[in-house]
């Protein structure tokens, strides 16, 4: 990384540029074993308990969108980082940076959503902070959160994925790309035949459903910025196993596919806010799939692929017509096609 360069918008996209910034600036400077795993939550062992600790910031625009708002997103996003680590989410803190001029009614609506989402997820908001900045110094409202969860000792292997092995199956909990396209439609005032809603939702009921026998589960991650492709690439990068995925099993709504075709977006790279990827023991694939499908946020769950000894370090996709390609991480922002 060239230190004479400036931060670019692509550094926030969740792809390779983001990863480079994290590795070369943050991890390098903050260097410690708890951070270096770069999991969704860090696991801190005390004498009595194991704690998952995470942080996130929310800067989404528009702040109100079909299916939610920035506050709902902040709570469910934090809960999700904790629960896909195998922990039981408990406590959240919220810091608000508010632009002068934001209607108080907007703030109240956002905070009401946060309270409702926290109750739904069974977490308590126990600390907070508020700052107001002059007009133009932030975009309406930014929210930073931290979250704490407790991890039972038989779930410690989940966030690292260290027990993943060839033969394991890969599942997703539902349709991909809904959130990203809902935001795009809201930003661009697209009128669609079917309104696409963001899938913003807490996943802790879903994770508890599949963690009945934690040894069945090898790994979980919520599919956010950078999309499914980023997680698939990260999971097998520099490892002694590869991944095979079948495109025709990846669930995507037809309306999302259509918008993707129009804009030239690949749904594998789109952000979600209520979906997760799981890697499970081969023998448990069907029971876990059934457990997902009985939950509200898992009805569209499918098995999309498997871990393989072939092509170690690479995730390979079989396309809908049978061609093959290597799944790569996106470098920066995905930009719309020109023609």
């Amino acid at each position: 990384m060239n230190r004479n360069e400036v931060i670019l918008i692509g550094h926030g996209s969740g792809g390779r540029l983001t990863r480079e910034l994290i590795d070369e600036i943050f991890v390098k400077k903050f260097d410690n074993p708890l951070l270096s795993g770069l999991h969704d939550a860090s696991i801190i062992e005390t004498d009595s308990e194991k704690i998952a600790f995470t942080t996130d910031s929310y800067v989404i625009d528009p702040i109100f969108f079909p299916g939610g708002n920035i506050g709902k997103l902040a709570i469910s996003g934090t809960v999700n980082d904790l629960c896909v680590s195998g922990s039981i989410p408990k406590y959240i803190s919220c810091g608000f940076i508010i632009e002068e001029g934001l209607p108080i009614s907007d703030l109240e609506n956002i905070v009401t959503s946060m309270a409702s989402e926290a109750e739904r997820a069974g977490v308590f908001i126990v600390a907070g902070d508020t700052k107001v900045v002059k007009r133009g110094q932030c975009d309406k409202i930014f929210i930073n959160t931290s979250g704490i969860g407790i991890i039972p000792s038989d779930r410690l292997h989940i966030s690292s994925g260290k027990t993943i092995q060839p033969g394991d199956k890969i599942l997703v909990s539902g349709t991909l790309g809904d959130h990203a396209i809902a935001i795009l439609a809201a930003r661009e005032n697209l009128t669609l035949d079917e309104e696409i809603q963001s899938d913003t939702a807490p996943l802790n009921k879903l994770t508890e459903a599949v963690l009945v026998h934690p040894s069945d589960l090898r790994f979980m991650r919520d599919i956010t910025r950078g999309g499914l492709a980023t997680i698939l690439t990260e999971v097998c990068e520099n490892k002694d196993f590869g991944i095979d995925v079948d495109e025709k099993n990846i669930p995507i709504r037809q309306s999302v596919k259509s918008i993707c075709e129009l804009y030239g977006f690949d749904p594998l790279y789109l952000a979600n806010e209520g979906k997760m990827m799981l890697i499970v023991r081969q023998e448990s694939e069907n029971i876990i799939l059934q457990r997902l499908k009985t939950e509200k946020h898992g009805v569209d769950a499918t098995i999309i692929g498997e871990i393989t000894i072939s092509h170690p370090g690479k995730a390979i996709l079989k396309s809908v017509i049978g061609g093959r390609r290597i799944i790569e991480m996106l470098s920066g922002e995905m930009l719309p096609r020109i023609c």
Partner: protein, 368 residues
């Protein structure tokens, strides 16, 4: 019929592949000249399914990739002017200029905005009467009507703060130039959306002059396989001419209304294509009646043509002479995260398509 379902049908795709394999008798080199086709072929792994006799070449079909470096440098120069807003289509943001790029300039404070359509451009023009709004207009025949209608509307409304930096290009002369340069091309997959606007008729002279088949294709995998199948048939039978596979959108005459609009605002001109050079009649310039919107006439800026990056093979890749994997920089110093050439930046560029959608079989030797 849902096109993105039917035209991705695996059974139909497999049947077409069987047909292609049964009729092919000799080597055939097929070039596509549309970034959308480049991407679709790689994304669906079509090149991994075709028989070895078929060599798929990627030509100068990525509108951003063929835009020369000097245009980026000029866009940067205009963006740096006081009280200017530069409007661009997305991919231009990261194309390296000689010393900087538009995303770096944006991060450093220049007002550079991505638009999806020229309707947005006019909204920005109306909302910012005290600023000069400059639209960097790139793209082939597909995007030209958008620019034309914006200029026509700006003239009607008397929007004096709207300007266009025009680098629009047109396909047929570039396709002829490649054949004239002796690049071995047995058939063209014709660009689908260009043809929707201009009509398949624009390729008739090329097909006749060079006795070559051209098949205008859609973008779904079955579209491309049907087009390849038809090209193989035509080639093997010694037939030339233009056929339309993309019948749901393309006609011989094209969109006549759009063509009249383009003629009202633009006239043919020489355009400079990265990797190929200046090609007469391969681009458009703003006509006399609309010259007050031509930023190069109203706010002329001198920008020297800078050297192309050392070792970058974009030029030869755009002509289909080399593959991205032939470039020493590919995947090492030139990646989508840190691109050196334009072909690695654009989502429709050969190099980015190769990188993002690599196939396990991507170990082929250089084709020259």
């Amino acid at each position: 019929m849902n096109f993105s379902v039917e035209f991705r049908n695996e059974k139909i795709a497999k049947a077409l592949l069987t047909e292609i394999k049964s009729i092919i008798k000799s080597k055939i080199r097929i070039m596509e000249v549309c970034g959308g086709h480049t991407m679709a072929i790689r994304r669906y792994g079509i090149h991994t399914l075709l028989p070895n006799e078929i060599e798929l070449l990627s030509g100068p079909g990525c509108p951003v990739c063929v835009t020369d470096q000097q245009f980026i440098d000029m866009s940067i120069a205009y963006a740096r002017l006081p009280d200017c807003i530069l409007l661009i289509y997305g991919d231009m943001l990261r194309i390296p200029g000689t010393a900087s790029s538009l995303d770096r300039e944006k991060a450093s404070g220049c007002d550079i905005r991505i638009i999806y359509s020229t309707i947005q451009a006019l909204e920005i023009v109306r909302k910012n009467p005290s600023k000069r709004i400059i639209f960097a207009a790139i793209g082939f025949e597909t995007t030209v009507p958008g620019t034309a209608i914006a200029l026509k509307q700006a003239k009607i409304e008397g929007l004096d703060n709207f300007f266009v930096l025009c680098a629009h290009k047109t396909m047929p002369m570039a396709m002829e130039t490649l054949i004239e340069e002796g690049i071995p091309i047995d058939g063209y997959i014709g660009p689908g959306h260009v043809s929707a606007i201009a009509g398949s008729k624009i390729f008739d002279p090329l097909a006749t002059k060079y006795n070559i088949p051209v098949v205008i294709s859609g973008f779904e995998p079955v579209d491309l396989l049907q087009s390849v199948c038809l090209l193989v048939q035509m080639f093997q039978e010694g037939r030339s001419g233009v056929e339309i596979q993309y019948k749901r959108l393309v006609t011989h005459q094209g969109n006549v209304k759009a063509q009249h609009l383009i003629e009202e605002v633009f006239e043919p001109d020489t355009q400079y294509w990265r990797g190929i050079g200046a090609i007469p009649g391969s681009g458009l310039k703003i006509r006399k009646g609309y010259e007050k919107f031509d930023v190069q006439k109203q706010l002329p800026i001198q920008v020297e043509r800078g050297p192309e990056p050392k070792g970058c093979l974009c030029g030869q890749i755009l002509k289909g002479i080399k593959r991205p994997t032939d470039c020493k920089l590919f995947g090492k110093t030139c990646t989508p995260t840190h691109p050196i050439g334009a072909c690695m930046v654009s989502s429709e560029g050969s190099c980015q398509s190769f990188y993002t959608y690599q196939s396990p079989e991507d170990l082929r030797e250089s084709i020259v």
